[in-house]
Symmetry: C2
Subunit: 347 residues, 2 copies
């Protein structure tokens, strides 16, 4: 859009006010100077309320996620990169190649323009790195005290490879369960920042786009792959319980096989958290037919984001749909999903 | 998903708490009992983090909008139906047939479950009436005082008819400008509820899904149609100024030709509003090559949502990109978009 604004946006010192959400000149300027600058691409430059793209042949996947993480900036990422990775990963978990994203912003009056620009730039960088452009968006502003800084909702669409049909209801007894790396990093990174904790070595969020890893996994295991899922909110425990319900199976997992970084384990102990319940933003679990498990594990370990991949258990017949964990000491316990709330606003 | 919850959700008296956003059992129950019940369809029933559909041939349109309207319930609609209509309309404005929606919810702790259920049911009704299912979603909960009831972001995708290429930069001098009906209804309905005003006859929001009207318009005018847009936030004034910038033209409009209901005009006078700046949620403007204008107008008037359609002006050559209005008394004035903020949280 042609820029015909009377004053330059003062990104250094300015703050978002209600006029930035009112549909007038101030909003057009905010969008042009901050969002279009950071996320620039041909679609956004058209300045329409929707963007048009060539549909891929075959099936498409669609996903949406709201991001309300607090604090907005945390070790290893921020709400902007997280919002890109979250949408990319939810698309990728269907085996699909992520193609396009949308982003909508709900901003609290008074929010610093400099923080908004930093978030938009982080989104832009994550989007370019992933090769998935943000092609359309929306901005709303609410009064001071009616939101908390900024909330972002991203929606993604992608192309599902022919012949691939992954779903949470496809796990069968005997299938092998893998995780792509260490668990708990994201949740602990956010919590330590929120609680102002300092550890000897800084714990970084694992926030990352997993579609490259997924493409390698699909190439290695093909139709033997039953499902993938990223264990975000609720952690590994919630994800496995969900899949157990959907697939009408149980899971047996081995505590000793589950990768947890020593510093994350120590922080969890300090914070009173179980790593199994802690959110991840750059990890996935996969369920695969047993004969394809070795090739899948090898393919995962060959990718930088799957270096620490491990087989951690198997699906079993269980009418009660229990997730059971054999502990390092040999005992077994049921891994339930949390009834209450452990980590609010972790993503 | 199989329901295995220990207690029934108390929709009558219960409230949303942080556990409903924590990724565990409480969240699964909230989603199943409220959202899946109200929005039920095959895609949601699969319970995956994404949904898969058959891509249409050709080009697709994608759009996203956050809804933060206050109050949540207003005469003629609520945030749920509004969120469906808003996404459907933004897709339709490209001439596309809306196919699928996603919905993400940010809910404030303490929000009554009964209100949430009412909003979800209203979304479901609007989605069924429009024939556009909500196939995937997300729910987050933030602490009391960190949001305002509920915010909803909807994203839509649709199929663009072959040969149609509408865009805000396509208006040419001499093109004819039409509006599909009376302006200002939505904004005045929301404001009157917010300000607790009572009028002799209740003013209802015009919130409606316009894709049926659009399909008739595309059939009538085809490639002669340059662009359509729904004048939401910022009203007709902002929309025309945006298009003037994008298309590098000016607009001349006739005050006497613009449909405004007498009760809306009266309310605007009372509230100190200019109907040209007030949001609409069930109206569109269209710019069309002059030779196709009569057929387009006829097609619009034949549709229930275009009964009061009118030709209100034309695009003109103007290097300054001004929108000028000839008043009922013969004078002319420049219709600027508002620099400040007139109506916060109108959608």
């Amino acid at each position: 859009m042609t820029k015909t604004y009377r004053r330059k946006l003062d990104i250094g010192n300015g703050r978002v006010d209600l006029s930035h959400g009112a549909g007038g000149r101030a909003m057009a300027q905010l969008i042009a100077d901050i969002f279009h600058t950071a996320l620039d691409n041909d679609w956004l430059r058209q300045g329409n309320d929707q963007s048009v793209f060539e549909a891929p042949k075959g099936r498409m996947a669609m996903t949406t996620d709201a991001f309300v993480v607090s604090p907005l900036f945390f070790p290893g990422g921020d709400i902007g990169s997280l919002a890109v990775h979250g949408a990319v990963n939810d698309i990728a978990m269907s085996g699909a190649k992520p193609l396009y994203l949308s982003a909508s912003f709900i901003i609290e009056e008074g929010f610093p323009l400099s923080d908004l620009a930093r978030i938009a730039e982080s989104m832009g960088a994550a989007s370019r790195a992933a090769g998935v452009p943000v092609i359309t968006g929306d901005t709303k502003v609410v009064e001071r005290g009616k939101a908390d800084g900024v909330f972002i909702t991203t929606t993604g669409v992608g192309a599902v490879p022919e012949g691939l049909d992954l779903s949470g209801d496809k796990a069968r007894p005997g299938d092998v369960l893998l995780v792509s790396g260490s668990i708990g990093d994201h949740g602990v990174a956010v919590m330590s920042k929120r609680e102002n904790l300092e550890f000897d070595c800084e714990i970084l969020s694992d926030s990352a786009a997993l579609h490259g890893l997924v493409a390698d996994m699909v190439a290695a295991a093909g139709a033997a792959l039953r499902l993938m899922r990223d264990p975000t909110r609720g952690g590994l425990a919630a994800t496995l319980n969900e899949i157990a319900q959907q697939s009408r199976v149980g899971f047996r997992i081995e505590e000793a096989a589950i990768p947890v970084k020593p510093e994350v384990a120590a922080a969890c102990e300090l914070l009173g958290l179980d790593p199994l319940n802690v959110a991840n933003e750059g990890k996935l679990i996969a369920v695969v037919a047993p004969e394809a498990a070795p090739a899948l594990l090898e393919a995962m370990r060959a990718h930088p984001l799957g270096r620490d991949a491990a087989i951690i258990g198997a699906a079993v017949e269980d009418e009660r749909r229990f997730v059971q964990m054999t502990s390092s000491f040999g005992g077994a316990r049921i891994v339930d999903w949390l009834a209450g709330e452990q980590l609010p606003r972790i993503c």
